[in-house]
């Protein structure tokens, strides 16, 4: 009966791995991927029932494996991003171009606006130029790639039980039509949790995880965080804070680039696809005698 939980309801919820009935605040649309996985599982179950003959291990659906994703697991979650977009596609000077996480640029001063009419050039990778004997060299302030989008990503993973072993942790990014031209880049950094969130703390404590080109027309990007070594095969952290940056490439005029940045910033959506295996609820496949 609806109303206060009966002992039977509590027992059934516990069997479902839940401590209480969830109370979604604003139910989101069902992600197409999860709906597709659910439909596939229903078809497999119906097919297994229809045959009802004992099947060899090969024909049986692996009891705890997500075939479509090719990983073991019996729980698939799509965790929404809770971070807020910091700059709505405004062009800013770049931060990291040409250097790694420990380069002075990554830890540099807060950003300042770059004159978009000035051509964007990449500084040499080695910041120190050889001095000619007896001569002097005029340093030119390196012009950095303009920062197009800077988005903090925050994922609340507290719903995962400690026993759950992650087998896939994939950052899924969707943006309108990808980069407008060549030379655009996407970078992902690890940032501290929201409790340290502050302009200076943000810059000083981030750790660059990867940089990769953002191709024209590439509207979906999948980044496997297990491969990045960001999270290990043991239990996941309760929160995951990342910083996503998109650096504008060259070759566009300032206004076109700025418009592209604005559209990219507005259309950018992030979510985390997490597949885990609950060892107590998944028994290995028993071989039939």
């Amino acid at each position: 009966q609806p109303g206060p939980l009966s002992p039977q309801a509590v027992a059934l919820l516990r069997a479902l791995g839940l401590s209480e009935p969830p109370a979604p605040r604003q139910p989101r649309p069902v992600p197409p991927l999860l709906w597709r996985l659910f439909r596939k599982s229903q078809e497999k179950l119906a097919a297994a029932k229809e045959t009802q003959e004992p099947q060899g291990p090969e024909q049986q659906a692996q009891p705890c494996r997500v075939e479509e994703l090719g990983v073991p697991g019996n729980i698939v979650r799509l965790v929404p991003d809770r971070g807020k977009l910091r700059n709505q596609g405004k062009l800013l000077s770049g931060s990291r171009a040409g250097g790694g996480a420990d380069s002075p640029q990554a830890r540099g001063p807060p950003r300042h606006r770059l004159n978009p009419s000035r051509p964007v050039t990449r500084p040499p990778r080695a910041p120190c130029l050889p001095f000619p004997p007896g001569g002097s060299v005029q340093f030119e302030e390196p012009a950095l790639a303009p920062l197009c989008v800077e988005k903090p990503l925050f994922f609340n993973l507290s719903a995962l039980a400690p026993q759950e072993q992650p087998t896939l942790v994939r950052l899924e990014l969707a943006c309108a039509r990808g980069a407008p031209g060549p030379g655009w880049e996407l970078s992902l950094s690890l940032a501290p949790g929201p409790q340290l969130w502050g302009w200076q703390a943000h810059w000083h404590h981030r750790q660059l995880l990867l940089t990769q080109p953002l191709l024209p027309g590439q509207d979906t990007i999948h980044l496997d965080l297990l491969d990045l070594g960001l999270v290990g095969p043991s239990a996941l952290p309760r929160n995951l804070s990342l910083v996503l940056e998109i650096l504008a490439g060259g070759g566009g005029d300032g206004n076109g680039t700025e418009a592209a940045c604005t559209s990219l910033g507005r259309s950018l959506e992030a979510s985390l696809l997490v597949v885990t295996l609950h060892p107590q609820q998944c028994r290995p496949l028993a071989r039939r005698r």
Binding site: L16, A23, F38, N74, I75, V76, Q281
Partner: protein
């Protein structure tokens, strides 16, 4: 000599009984996206001798039903339990507003047998 008891009525023989639970009935339809309910089938019925030989029984259940027919006070009848189960998958919102697809093994009773 003892006289074998009369065979029980067919609906009392060990077999699966279907029971469908609608999530709307128990007030869970706002957080469970799909399916709309689940089969909470259960096994009920007896395993008398000599019927146990047809009831998907293993050998010791057949022997036990035989011994029960000879000395009912000392040897109980075999039990009627699930012997073939199916998994289910449930799509739902959890407390963190995540959409979760979860697979549960051995959830639906397909067949019953004497053990």
């Amino acid at each position: 000599r003892t006289v074998a008891p009369a065979a029980p009525a067919p609906d009392r023989i060990c077999r699966p009984h279907q029971l469908y639970v609608s999530f709307r009935d128990v007030g869970w339809h706002d957080w469970i996206i799909a399916p709309r309910g689940f089969m909470a089938n259960y096994c009920r019925g007896s395993c008398p001798f000599p019927l146990a030989t047809q009831l998907n029984s293993v050998n010791h259940a057949i022997l036990q039903s035989l011994m029960h027919s000879v000395a009912p006070a000392q040897t109980p009848l075999p039990c009627c339990i699930p012997v073939r189960l199916s998994p289910i998958s449930v799509l739902f919102y959890d407390n963190g507003d995540n959409v979760v697809l979860r697979h549960y093994e051995d959830m639906v009773v397909d067949e019953c047998g004497c053990r």
